[in-house]
Amino acid sequence: MYGYQGKVLRIDLSKGVSKVEDLNLEEAKKFIGGRGLGTKLFVDEVSPSVDALSPENKILFATGPLTGTPTPTGGRYMVVTKSPLTGTIASSNSGGYWGAELKFSGYDVIIVEGRSEKPVYVMIEDDQVEIRDAAHVWGKVVSETTETLLKEVPEKSRVLTIGPAGEKLSNMAAVMNDVSRAAGRSGVGAVMGSKNLKAITVRGTNKVAIANEEALKAVVKDCNAKIRENGVTGQGLPTYGTAVLVNIINEGGVFPTNNFQLSQFSEAEDTSGELLAEKYLTKKDPCYRCPIACGRYCKVDDIEGGGPEYETIWAFGGDCGVSDMPSIIKSNFWCNEYGLDTISTGATIAAAMELYQKGFIKDEDLDGLSLDFGDSDAVVEWTKRIGQRAGFGDKMAEGSYRLADSYGVPELSMSVKKQELPAYDPRAIQGQGLQYATSNRGGCHVRGYLISPEILGLPEKLDRFTIEGKAAWVKIFQDFTAFIDSSGLCLFTSFAMGAGDYAAMTNAVIGTEWTADDVLLAGERIWNLERVFNLDAGVDPSQDTLPKRLLEDPIAEGPSKGNVARLSELLPEYYELRGWSTDGIPTQERKGLLKI
């Protein structure tokens, strides 16, 4: 067996037992691993109508066939569960070192089910699996939990944990690993919290068997060269991390400001990647076997830690009208400590600010803390209160949709399927708008990063304001991404590599003979599997939409002035290209074709 370890570790927290099962290899190859295989195993076992925070929901940690191999960035894993935020399938990806270590411990996937009566953590060292008491770390922040556990588990273990936000079932709680890496989105941390599962530590000594070592050596050499020579992966990301996008996205008038009321932030330069590199960067922080090393480590006052990423800078910066980099670094730090998704946290504060600006939220609700756009100290404080669910932070921890809805104005939540949109105004980039609306986990940029062709010009430059051909681009990007997310590699490799490269790597590792078309077909199969789950879960196609503001109110000023998201023109073409019915349901014929 090559690429896969062939084993699934099942942990039943209600009974306090674990067992090892064989991985169905045929199925693994069909759904690849990570996001695809995790989803397949999940949907086969869990009812779509399950309450996300009930013991009947399960949470899976799935590696891909390339995780733990010498392929560039081959260290990723995916957290798959039903999301308490969106009610859709959730799959949140993370890097760092935990994923590769899980694979080395001898398992492709961990399935956690049930609910423990008391807080526990799981210690894994190869075939030794123990469910241990976690009372002493319950309530502790991520860095302290990690430090404490590292003293009591086998040497060289890696730690995945939730913070207080996950314990308190916040809809924006992340799963954290290696202290500052996050499977951030869709509230996956709350599902762990609902099971009283604080952490999973892993340590392993099993290698991943490779089908064709020689071929792998050659293709890895080739792909590493492509990554080095590509401007984005060879220069841009290594020098500045993702933060360099602040200026470019803002310059084009695509940078949502004050909860998407504006699309350009006059003070963006004060929150730029250039400034971050010059004044606050202490070191780079790469993930397992990553030649790109986009990860940052920054310091301000007595606070030092991983990040901030572009999306984070935007969420706590421009979206809240904040132009103070130190406070952004602090908000990011507290998100990592409390185990919060930075996008949803910052965007929810921004939505609360607009609710306050418009008079829905009143001063007496706020315990004396300001909710004015631009108040940087208050944003840091709100981040902490969301993490602790203290005062009004408790209500905000539910996410912007539920917050705005409680005042009767859900349209002030800039979200899709209740998940907060990231840092690109879709009125100014038509393909990305369609992608947001159709993403299988709600508001998200990494289910299909159309920014790449529409702004960065990769693999070719598209006009961001037009809709012609965009539906096809969205479909290909979504399918391609679904494969990458399942392979065990980082999505950022795709700036430099094409479907053929991923096929070549997987072939060398597993021993398959896939082509670029097979890669896209597998991705399409995974996309449809997710879609069917969401439909069965009651998330119907009427939710393939965008906030009213983005559909109806033209951008008022700046380079993208006058545009709205032309979703209604794009959606029918997209459904047709997907082989779905005109109302967005995968047909029997298409499902048969994709063998799902």
Binding site: Y240, V244, L245, E251, G253, E269, E274, Y310, I451, P559
Partner: protein
């Protein structure tokens, strides 16, 4: 005619971040990068007034030229 030019990321090194560039007969972004000694291959994204531009697009009075080297995604 003078044009405002904004540079980003590594292009700022030894050049600064914003400047006025005096162009003679040829009013194009190509003339701008020639004058600033920026190699064409280092121009990954070019915007004129925040919209996509080409090196040979003719500039008109008041245009702002923004030039980016290859930069990453988020």
């Amino acid at each position: 005619m003078e044009f405002k030019v904004r540079l980003f990321a590594t292009l700022r090194k030894d050049r600064g971040r914003e400047m006025m560039v005096e162009l003679g007969e040829e009013w194009t972004a190509r003339a701008v990068i020639d004058q600033l000694k920026i190699d064409e291959k280092d121009v990954a994204i070019l915007m004129i007034n925040g919209r996509d531009g080409l090196l040979d697009t003719k500039l008109i009075e008041g245009d702002i030229v923004s030039i980016f080297p290859p930069v990453g995604g988020g």
